[in-house]
Every structure is written in structure tokens, then in C-alpha cells.
Amino acid sequence: MFEATSLNRRNRQKEGLVRYLFLLMTLLLILPVLIILGVLVAKGGPVLSMDFLFTYPTDGMTAGGIFPALVGTVWLVTVALLFSVPIGVAAAIYLSEYAPDNWLTRLINLAIINLAGVPSIVHALFGLGAFVMFFGFGTSILAASLTLAIMTLPVVIVSTRESLQAVPMAFREACWNMGATRWQTIRHVVLPNSISGILTGVILEVSRTAGETAPIMFTGAAFFLPFLPQGIFDQTMAMSLHLFVVSTQVPGVPEHLPYGVALVLILMVLTMNATSIAFRMYLRNKKKW
């Protein structure tokens, strides 16, 4: 008859141990997220209301709502995306589908990876020098969004390229062999099968952009403005900077107000991430190979 040896038994015990160790690590990872959310909801929840979202700050920003900051963040993120998505996706398509495998391509790839590691405050200074001063856009939504776009480009490129590379090479070869050009192959086979990954990457990017403070501080975001921006050459308030301001720069702010701002910011980010996850799940159900 078949008997478990002592080695079998030890392996089985080890298997159980290792499994719970990994589970523990995962739980440890979720814990801070839960704590942050819990504190924010507990302390910021009470101030949440329609009024809070849709009115201007009052009394030297110690009371009232966050409407201009909310609108400003939407402006900044949208304009930044208008630049970073087309440029990033096109660059990723080039690098993944067209670029020959030579030293230049490898150098560009290396540069992109390194660019992703540049601290955001450095991007802020670059944006100040390039867009605000050299191009003369002044402190404006345009300058701030361009700075954000440059900062997010490497990430858009990397995530898009990864989605493209996930499409099996055999699909491309099959198309080329039937006389399809590279572009026909990309359009008919590669893009339709990587679009979910690309969009997921973009949405995650949006949520990161929404939270950035440093890059917009010198380039387009204002402490306080009693009106909404009318175009891309105006300055604007922004959620992330507003949070910084009410937490540290203004005396006499009631304790719950910064938590309320933070909660709204986090909810924005979570909503976008949730959209991205839902979207990914929807498309995964239609997974085709």
C-alpha cells in the first residue's frame, strides 16, 4: 500500500506554514490601507455633503466647500491626459511594434525607465523653467498639465508597451504572413487585444496624476481663487494643493476640514481605480485566447 514518507509529511507541513506566512504578509499590506480609509471616513465623513463639494471656501479657507479645487483637479488631469495618452501610446506602439532591436532602442528604453524614477519635485522645477518661463505659458493650467504629462509619460509608455507585448507574437506572424502590413496587424489584431490593458494603465495613471502636488505647485496651482478657471491659460486651485494648504498653511482650520478634503481626494482616486478594475474584469470575461 501507499504510505506517506516522513519527507512527504515534512513537505506538507512546510507547505502549510509557507502558505500562512504569505497570507500574513498580504494581510499586513492591506492593514495600512484599511486604517487610512477608516481614519479618513471617521474624521472627514461628517463634513461630506453636497454643499461641501459644490461651494467655495469661505472665511479664509477655514470653512465652506472645495468646489474650485475639485473643478481645478479635473481640468489639470484632463489636459494632462490629452497630451500624455496620445504621445505615450504612440511611442509605446513604436517601441513595441516597429523599433528594431538595436542599441538606440535599448538606450531609449533605459531612458524611459529612468525617467519614471525622477522625483516629482524635479519635474516641478523643469516645468517651471520650461513651460512657465521659457515657453511663456506663465503659471497656468497648460504649464501645470504639461508638467504632469511629462511626469506620467514614462509610466503610460511602460504600461502600454507591456499590454502590447502580452499579445502573442504568433498572432502578429500569422497576420504578416497573409500579407498584412505592420499597421494592419496592429489595428486588427494587436490593439483590439491589448486595449483593456492599455486603458487600465491609463486610468491608474489618472488617479496618480490627481494626487500629485509638487509638479503643479510652481507651475499652475493657486492657494486660493475666488473663481473657476475659464481656459488653459488661467491658474486654478487643485485638490492636492488645497489639502496641503488647509493642513499646514492656514491658521484656525477646524480639524475635520483637511480630513474631508483628503477623503474626497481618496474617493476620487478609488472611484477611478474601481472603474479600471471593473473595466478590466469586464474585458477579461471576454478574454479571447
Partner: protein, 262 residues
Amino acid sequence: MVSAPPPPETSAKIQVQVRDLTIRYGSKVALEKVSLDIREHEIFGIIGPANSGKTSFLRALNRMDQMHSSMKVDGQILFRGKDVHSWRNLYALRSKIGVVFPLPVGLPLSIYDNVALAPRLSGTKNKSDLDEIVERCLQRAALWDEVKDRLDSLGSMLSGGQQQRLTIARALSQDPELLLLDEFSIAVDPVTTMKIEDVLKELKKEITIILVTNLVQQARRLADNTAFFLTGECIEVAKTEDLFTGEVKDPRSRDYVEGRFG
């Protein structure tokens, strides 16, 4: 050693003429100085162990060296009398040459779209024309009866054997003059293999077929002439039956087909 092409034994026109074909990947030689002729409406078999350069040979024929940056091709390949290296429009060249890979590639499109893709890429838009092409190609690939009620389902979800026939239908939808098959039966069950072999026998009435195969008996069943490749050399080109029972120039050819190799 350069093996000379066999003397023409029929009056059939030569479809593909290969002279001194050498293929390199970087500095590594994958195929050296191959010369052979392939006639219209024949099945031309290529046998040989792994890494002998069979797939590289097929790649060179439809200029896939363009898509593999390290691949370099020297020598002449005349397709219908014209060197494939002088075709200005490679896409036109490739659309005349159908290819079937070792592992079936059902594109992640519907069965219908798999077969309609090539005609669409070359400009056929009319729905009834496409319907007609799809049905005809699936019929010829012996797949129509199994899928005619679910043309909308995904081609990549069919079984391996069905996907391989779908791949053949897709290759036929290009209306090719030359069909390249690279070890098509590796991932296919024996019953499907037999079905496909019957299909090929029918097809050769209309087009020329190059059949790379790891099964010498398959070459024997199907091929009119067969070449034996060994580590980048074309050891022998002969009438298929001669490889098995007649005279061979190189004893290694006989050893290989009789399974006494290595």
C-alpha cells in the same frame, strides 16, 4: 556541398527556383548553399531533424527575414521567375503565399473574421463575397460542417485540430498560389491529420504546396519530390519514392527515412 536540383522529369513549369540560398542569424549559419526546384502543382516535401533549417527556408520564401532583424538571406529565390528580393511590394508577395505553422494560430477573432481577414485586408468589402469566400475556404479545409452553425464564436476557442484547419482555411482565403506548411501535424490528432492530408491531395490540383514535416511517412504519403535537410545542408533532393526504395546519393538520407539516425 551543393546538391544539384534533380533533372526535370515532367513538363510541369517550375514555380519556385532556389539557387545558392544561404541563411544566417547574426553570424550563425542556419542554411547553406541550397539549390532546388519546386514545380507547379506538386507537393514538395522537406524532411530533416530539428534545427536543420527547414523553418528558415520557408521564412526566406515569403521574405519574413524582413521581420526578424538578425536574419540575413543570400542567394536567389525565384518565385514565378522573379526573385523575391526584387519584389517591391512584399505585402503582395506574401498574400500570394499561404503559411501554416506548427502550432495552430486561431486569431482571437470570430471564426468568420479569421477567414475573412485576408480578403478584407486586400480590399474585399462586399458581405456576400465574403460569405462566399468564408464558406468555400472552410469547406476546402474540411471544417465547414463542424463550425457552420457557430461562425460567430471565437476561432481561438476551437480545439487544436480544428484551429489548425481554421489556419489552413485562413491561408486559403488569401487565394494563394503557394502554400507553405510547417510541421502542421505536431499539435493535431491523427484523425485530423488524415483529414488535412486528404485536403492537401485535393488542393495540389490547384496550387503548389511545400510540406515541411517531421514525419517521414507523411512525406511518403503526400510528397512528389522530397528534400532532406540536415544541420543547415540540403543533403538530397529526390523523387520521394526514391528516398525510401530507390537510389540515394547520400547514405544518410536512407538512414534518416528508415529511422536509423543519430
